[in-house]
Point group: D2
């Protein structure tokens, strides 16, 4: 996927193109979350690194910071094994792994295996961690594992900044 | 599942009722494996304890003892979320998690959610670890996590015993 | 040690009473570190929780944030087994565990088993993690394990605050 | 220490040369332990690999197999930092780390930094794991980390063998 352009830090976060939400009475949008720090965790349910590291970190972020102005949002960006990770499978996965934050299913457009939000952000694979500031700008875009100290420090810094 | 009878240590291991095998040119059978120590690891691909502990242990057993007369066999015993864990999903899971020993899909009979081999062995859930000696008798039947030292010691003892 | 008063968040950090420094060409002081965020990690070399969690966290903090205005300082607060943890033992420990930030040996006053800096800060045991802001005020005083996300977030917030 | 000859598997285990025992009402000897499987764990209290892996494994071996004919014995083989790891320090270490099996302090002869039992067994460093069968013969001599499955399998095999 070398042709993908990665959304750089500082750029305005593109809108999410989601075909269905789990764990969300109200579909979250970047607009509605303006003023909060947003952690977008892009994963695939059959990606071992997501299950071992990325999702536990996302759960910990939600448990630690949900009450302090941080919104954690999962994004199921299926770009391979599409038949293996359909919504019915994802729903059972979310239930069994006790994921309690909203999870969106990234939408596909026709035959392209890479889903639309994944394309818009230029993600290279899963897990990808994206942190968006109170003003809707991307502040971190990382493929693979990011240490808790580093993620925590960025969130602390962004929480300390006023919006606007 | 309190009605299930657990196959006790010492009992003859019931035959496997498998509807399809992955990673097996030749479907393994207890008969063909007579003379070897058999480790049967029953799991579900969406069971967190299986993914975190059971399957890594099964992989390590295969990597460590396959050349010494131990046969490691996986059994996908789906008793819940049936639509979420169909063969196409399991195949992708086995690929992504680099599972390189044979995995059988436990067969269902009509409407009973509990598959047939799971019933025959009286398993209470997943993960379940079953160790069978060279003569086809069950020597360990454990639900949940079993420490490597304990599994290793049993295998070492059984490998040291001649077939009867 | 229930008689000890804990230095609360917001209070001015008391000066360090150190009898000898390891890994420090120049003995660090709070005054000289004014303007930086200071992480003070109080430990004992024979405290299992310090070795398993506290010191690895302190090392990671130093490796991650030393270039960004954070000073990590170790403090060997021996309040039991004094004969077992003398400077010669600590020096070998620091060498073997590859601790590369300054470590001060908290000073004792006569027969009191609790050393002076430990008393001044009202520490209840080891490990204790103390975070001091750019203005020399205590912002965290925690006995036991603190998650990396939490420590990271505090440091990020403090780094984002101007001094003064 | 390339001049050291390692005691090979199959050789008779040399006697232990211990200057003092901790956790032992009666000093253990190979003669008195004949008929049991003996696990000798050689360590230094300031060796990070011993603290992180070797000693926890030795504790687990003791907890798991002490009632089944296995004797776990620690050996403090100080060959560096001698002043840092004197008996008073070791005693505090054994207390703090809840080591509850006998620990012998390997004896030194004059100026040689390498202690006598370490020399007799040809150990190359710490941790070293030595497993001795019921007849007093060395069956494993391993420097560094050994997986639990492998240690367990060896112990299981040796427990299954009659003495003599």
């Amino acid at each position: 996927m070398s042709q993908l352009l990665t959304v750089q830090a500082g750029a305005v976060a593109p809108p999410w193109r989601v075909e269905r939400w789990l764990n969300a009475a109200q579909p979250p949008t970047l607009g509605a979350l303006r003023g909060r720090v947003v952690v977008l965790h892009a994963f695939q349910m059959l990606c071992p690194g997501c299950v071992a590291h990325g999702l536990p970190q996302a759960r910990a972020l939600h448990a630690t910071f949900a009450g302090e102005g941080v919104a954690v949002v999962g994004l199921h960006t299926v770009f391979e094994h599409h038949d293996a990770m359909k919504p019915v499978s994802l729903a059972a996965f979310v239930h069994e792994y006790r994921i309690d934050f909203p999870v969106g299913i990234d939408a596909h457009d026709g035959a392209d295996p890479v889903p639309l939000t994944m394309q818009a952000y230029g993600m290279r694979g899963t897990p990808t961690l994206i942190v968006i500031d109170r003003d809707g700008r991307v502040r971190l875009h990382a493929f693979g594992r990011v240490e808790d100290l580093v993620v925590g420090a960025l969130i602390g810094r962004l929480l300390g900044q006023a919006s606007g």
